[in-house]
Symmetry: C2
Subunit: 166 residues, 2 copies
């Protein structure tokens, strides 16, 4: 197997029901795009009202940029779209619990809700290893949900690292 | 007084002694550049050996991008310069304690040492409000120093916010 080809299929959800699962499925498809470019398969989508205004996947290796995580790129795209650095009416869907950098970016951008698939007890910034959404003196505390597509998103990352070790 | 003109002068340090103060003075000059473009005056410099390989200041307002903090931009520039996302031989000099996003970026980039001028008990990510450099299971724990140009850097930010309130 070529390590740069993801063995998991994309999901094509119905456009008729735009629920949280719909948006997370799009984030999952972005994670598959990441794998197909030899990046750790994490994907992110930003929702404003019922529209997707930004999609992105990890690009740290291809860009040689440690800040090029899916969430960071999506936040920058969304802010350009909105025309304001404040994303207080937006929701982020991401297939893995954000690291401290990305968790911090959800606070700096005043993201209303962050949905993530599976948690990261080692480096998660929104409840896993630390809780940046709940700093005592912070002006902004985003709402957090977890567990949408938890298994699929976790299996994707685990399978990627297994394929890399081969 | 025009709020977009910084009343504090830049510092032009001797090139003969490249100590920590030398690098922080360059970060301070970047903070003045920020003020002069109507941005919160925080500046950052990245050092590799005895060279400055990246300088940047806050650009969140002008770029309408919540991720465009001085430290983030400098890290991206430095990684392009080094040709690798790992900055484990680099040192960051920044005039204010990094927020959680930027503190997280110093960990993701494996920055060797972070020097900051004054601490931020409200939103600082490296000891002020939380300690991201010391997460229990983290693979990377940068060394932190604080206090270089502490007063000057703090006065600059305070004076900027005072000028904004007028």
């Amino acid at each position: 197997m070529n390590i740069s080809t993801c063995p998991f299929p994309k999901i094509f959800p119905s456009q008729l029901e735009k629920d949280d699962l719909f948006f997370m499925q799009h984030a999952y498809n972005e994670a598959i795009n990441a794998w197909n470019t030899d990046e750790v398969p994490v994907g992110a989508v930003i929702r404003f009202e019922d529209q997707i205004i930004a999609t992105a996947h990890n690009q740290t290796r291809s860009q040689k940029d440690p800040t090029a995580h899916a969430e960071m790129i999506a936040i920058t795209i969304a802010a350009k779209h909105i025309g304001d650095w404040r994303l207080n009416e937006c929701q982020l869907y991401v297939t893995k619990e954000p690291c401290p950098m990305c968790a911090g970016a959800t606070i700096m951008s005043r993201m209303r809700i962050v949905h993530y698939s599976f948690n990261d007890p080692k480096m998660g910034g929104l409840g896993g290893a630390t809780s940046l959404h709940d700093l005592e003196m912070s002006n902004h505390k985003p709402t957090i949900t977890k567990g949408i597509m938890e298994e699929e998103s976790k299996i994707l990352v685990q399978a990627f690292f297994q394929s890399q070790r081969k």
